[in-house]
């Protein structure tokens, strides 16, 4: 059984896993190089557009200097070889636009904010949305749950940007309860004490609320629909006729069966966390990977793009592999074959 599992189930998935990572990272290397944005020219254009007077007579020399400095000499193939050598050591080189800051340092600064906000909100919205959605699907005639459903119907189609902006205006301008911007108060130094933790939570509250409400509404509605379908299944009808307690039917029979696609969805959502939450970061001026990646793209900062997306590709494919391996444990109908 163990050998069969390794040979017929684990190894093919592992090969697939490495292949996806290889192809994904290769694509990430080449795609920005096909884009019309050249990092050297972009840097010069930025300096010029920001009012720096670059003597036109010496611009070509500056281009040559920067190409040398950024390590953009040699053919793409040579750069590709160097790139893989660096990937294995976790070194994505320096950021061109934020020269000479190493890419890994920029990611290290942004990552904790993204991870803490998005892991928490993804899990919270998933748990809240699925539990309430499951109950709402089963007790479809309950007045309160129907009201919740109506609210979710209104919230879900809202563009996130508008929803987040509305929360921002409500809580920071109308009610004036929460700060407008940032991950901490301006001038607050990092310290592991209650004041600092409360400050961080206070600043994270609105971004988190926006993500939990909108994310929760989506999980709520999908779960409710899945449960409503399962309700019509024979085994649920038999359980009801057999006098099994309703709580047991809801949680053991219905919700458990409805969870499988939701678990896959959760795994993918967690994997995508490393791409950041661009709009959340922009609306709430919150630190994170989303804006870092966005600016890397518009400035043609190849190394930074590759650093963030390589980590993201690794995270998503790993989560898919883990789910693939765990699925037979969650659903006995799926076998290790």
């Amino acid at each position: 059984m163990t050998f069969t599992f390794v040979r017929r189930y684990f190894i093919p998935r592992l090969i697939q896993y490495f292949l996806v990572i290889f192809l994904g990272i290769t694509a990430v290397f080449f795609i920005p190089r096909f884009a019309p944005t050249d990092p050297v020219q972009r840097t010069i254009a930025e300096l010029r557009s920001r009012g720096t007077y670059l003597d036109p007579a010496t611009v070509q020399n500056m281009i040559d200097d920067l190409r040398e400095l950024y390590g953009l000499g040699g053919s793409w193939l040579e750069q590709y070889g160097t790139f893989w050598k660096r990937v294995f050591t976790g070194d994505f080189g320096i950021s061109f636009f934020q020269f000479p800051t190493p890419v890994i340092d920029l990611i290290r600064t942004a990552l904790p904010w993204t991870l803490s906000l998005l892991i928490l909100t993804t899990m919270l919205s998933w748990v809240i949305g699925n539990v309430i959605g499951g109950v709402a699907g089963y007790f479809a005639r309950n007045r309160w749950l129907r009201t919740l459903d109506a609210i979710a119907m209104v919230i879900r189609p809202m563009p996130y940007y508008i929803f987040a902006l509305a929360l921002l205006i409500l809580f920071t301008y109308v009610l004036r309860w929460f700060p407008i911007a940032g991950g901490t108060a301006v001038g607050r130094k990092v310290a592991f004490n209650l004041d600092f933790i409360l400050d961080v939570l206070r600043h994270a509250f609105l971004p988190a609320l926006s993500l939990v409400i909108l994310g929760g509404a989506i999980w709520f509605q999908t779960m409710k629909l899945i449960v409503q379908n399962i309700n019509a299944e024979d085994f649920v009808q038999y359980a009801q006729l057999g006098g099994i307690k309703e709580r047991r039917i809801v949680f053991r029979y219905v919700i458990r069966n409805a969870m499988l696609p939701q678990i896959t969805g959760l795994a993918l959502s967690l994997g995508q966390i490393l791409s950041g939450a661009l709009i959340t970061e922009i609306v709430f001026s919150y630190p994170g990977l989303g804006t870092l990646l966005f600016h890397a793209i518009i400035t043609g900062d190849y190394n930074l793009i590759m650093g963030i997306t390589a980590i993201s590709i690794l995270a998503i494919t790993t989560m898919i592999l883990v789910i693939d391996l765990l699925y037979p444990l969650l659903d006995p109908r799926v076998k290790y074959r």
Binding site: T58, D65, S285
Partner: protein
């Protein structure tokens, strides 16, 4: 149900506890009444811990150029002055412009207490020249033969070739070559990768702290502020702390200002109107319409790629200009708030008196050949009056004082003349099809792509979209293409028309237009596909080369000769029209007067008004606290 209420109560108490400090955005040690908070124009700082502004782009408007640094000289476009910072006076040139002497200010110290001397200047120049990768490496290497000091407060340069504008490398006009503190840089192994944290400058403020994520930087007034040029020239700066902060959206900026958490910020036209309408303590640069900062030394407009057909034809470029109704264009772009300029410099400061007014007879006589023996005079001195009429029609209160109107709306522009435009095109083989669309001489439909930024708040976006509307009305299939790669595309000549500045910005003070005209030098024009070194229109001419050469050989202190050459260059640019100048840059700046007053508004322009320009530091001694806590 009881359990649910218990859970909800706990959640509510949690939220209430978190919300207790309310809106307080500042750490407790920063008293709001002693703190000035301003926006960062260029947004979130990408490399927050790196203050080495001599390499690459370092978000220098986070307080480095505008507060903590002092250049040798600064441009103040509002007063038209060139302010001596670290320099004690003007640069002194030899007759052949091959030797320059710069006198330095005595009594200045760096923020760490070390005296500033000629050694710092000599070290800066030598280090930059010795290290490829510094932004100014090529420029200084190209110019400087030798640099040495004569005592502690005089620096001498021997130049490789005559250059009457060498000193402008150190003249801060939103950036220049700043002086390095020798005692710090000489201790590091690699000055290129050195982060220079904490920052040390000669300005009146020192670095207090910064957000590693780049959203804010805090500066604190030096105890020895009187050892900075700002303190020596203007006295003690008033705010104890100055925070440069960025916000993700304009909505957040407006909310921050309405709740008194942001004292000065640049907004969009719409944002300015919203802030003024809702904030009782918020004011703009001008107390009445058109509110905006209209003396910023940049001219906005449209730029043609004259290296591609049909924009290589001057008649086509002029036809496209005459197809623009400037009233509609300005209305769409900035609701009539811009100051028109018919030439390739803005109508601000001394420029109208020195250049535009003396050019008026020539502009009025300027004639276009429409073909078939027909001619046309395009200049329209009444164009600003048409803008006044538009503004009054919109319900804005506009002064009837002609001097105020000239200052607000300019001295003239060009006629809206679609018939003349059509004749110019027909003269060159263009025609119209039965749908009223313009066809190229080869009979295909004429499509124009105006490529420019995705950022809707920029004047590039506004001018580009307004022109597209005008040209569509004229019958051309025009389209605005928004691209984040526009800077690279334009540099490489992969565009037809853009909404970029139609000419390089002038200094904003003095009469020297070398900075603007030199960009048309034929030596800087590269073939399509290569990054252009001069103006992206790629237009040049032997006549303009001669003007540039003339300016190089003229002492910029010789006002009469410099103005005459400047006018000659502007005439050539108007005749060739490689880019269409529309209006001077409008700054949609707002100030909140809740904590600080005596801002340099149009009624009292004691210095330039922005927080991001270098002379912002010189505003600090003049601001007054209101006493609000």
């Amino acid at each position: 149900m009881k359990r649910m209420w218990k859970v909800l109560t706990v959640v509510w108490i949690g939220v209430a506890l978190l919300a207790l400090p309310g809106l307080a955005q500042l750490a407790p040690e920063l008293p709001r009444s002693e703190t000035l908070i301003v926006g960062i124009l260029t947004g979130r700082v990408g490399s927050a811990s790196n203050f080495n502004e001599w390499v690459g782009w370092k978000w220098r408007d986070r307080g480095m150029q505008n507060l903590a640094n002092e250049p040798l000289w600064s441009i103040d476009f509002a007063t038209g002055e060139i302010i001596n910072g670290l320099a004690a006076g003007d640069a002194i040139y030899s007759k052949d412009f091959r030797h320059v002497t710069i006198p330095l200010r005595e009594g200045v110290t760096w923020t760490d207490g070390v005296p500033f001397t000629a050694d710092d200047v000599v070290y800066t120049v030598k280090t930059i020249m010795a290290t490829p990768g510094f932004n100014a490496h090529s420029a200084l290497s190209n110019d400087v033969g030798a640099v040495y000091k004569d005592g502690d407060y005089k620096v001498m340069f021997d130049l490789k070739q005559a250059n009457s504008r060498f000193h402008t490398h150190f003249l801060d006009r939103w950036g220049c070559i700043w002086i390095m503190p020798k005692h710090i840089f000489e201790t590091v192994t690699d000055p290129l990768t050195f982060e220079f944290d904490p920052f040390v400058g000669c300005g009146p403020y020192k670095l207090h702290s910064y957000d590693p994520s780049g959203y804010w930087t805090i500066w604190e007034k030096r105890a020895d502020w009187d050892k900075s040029p700002t303190g020596i020239l203007y006295g003690e700066p008033k705010p104890k702390y100055i925070i440069f902060q960025t916000f993700g959206t304009e909505g957040a900026k407006i909310v921050a200002q309405l709740t008194h958490q942001l004292d000065a910020v640049d907004l969009s036209a719409e944002g300015l109107m919203a802030a003024l309408a809702q904030g009782k303590t918020i004011r703009a640069y001008q107390p009445e319409f058109p509110w905006v900062v209209n003396n910023d030394p940049c001219i906005t407009g449209l730029l043609f790629n004259t290296a591609v057909a049909p924009f290589d034809n001057v008649d086509v470029r002029w036809a496209l200009l005459l197809a623009i109704d400037i009233v509609e264009h300005l209305g769409q772009a900035v609701d009539g708030m811009g100051t028109l300029s018919p030439v390739h410099i803005p109508s601000l400061g001394s420029y109208p008196e020195d250049f535009i007014k003396p050019m008026e007879p020539w502009l009025e006589a300027f004639t276009l050949d429409l073909g078939n023996g027909e001619t046309f005079h395009p200049y329209d001195p009444d164009a600003p009056q048409r803008i006044v009429k538009y503004a009054k029609g919109r319900g804005y209160v506009v002064s009837d004082d002609p001097a105020v109107q000239d200052q607000a709306f300019g001295l003239g522009w060009y006629k809206y003349a679609p018939e003349a435009a059509a004749k110019l095109l027909e003269k060159n083989g263009f025609s119209k099809n039965s749908d009223g669309q313009w066809l190229l001489p080869d009979g295909t439909v004429w499509k124009i792509e105006v490529i420019e930024t995705t950022d809707t708040s920029t004047h590039g976006f506004k001018n580009g979209n307004a022109a597209v509307q005008q040209w569509k009305q004229f019958g051309i299939d025009a389209e605005y293409v928004a691209s984040d790669a526009q800077a690279t595309l334009q540099g490489n000549g992969k565009f037809q028309v853009s909404g970029s500045w139609p000419a390089q910005e002038p200094w904003g003070a003095g009469v020297d237009l070398y900075r603007t005209l030199n960009y048309y030098n034929s030596a800087y024009m590269k073939p399509l596909g290569e990054l252009n070194q001069g103006n992206n229109s790629r237009w040049s001419s032997p006549e303009m080369d001669a003007v540039i050469k003339g300016l190089r050989e003229t002492d910029p202190a010789d006002t009469a000769a410099t103005v005459a050459l400047g006018i000659e260059g502007l005439k050539l640019a108007v005749a060739a029209m490689p880019g269409i100048p529309t209006y001077g840059y409008c700054g949609f700046l707002t100030w909140d007067e809740y904590y600080w007053t005596n801002w340099p508004g149009s009624e009292n322009p004691y210095t330039q008004p922005y927080a991001h320009w270098g002379p912002f530091k010189y505003m600090m001694p003049f601001l007054e606290p209101t006493g609000n806590k």
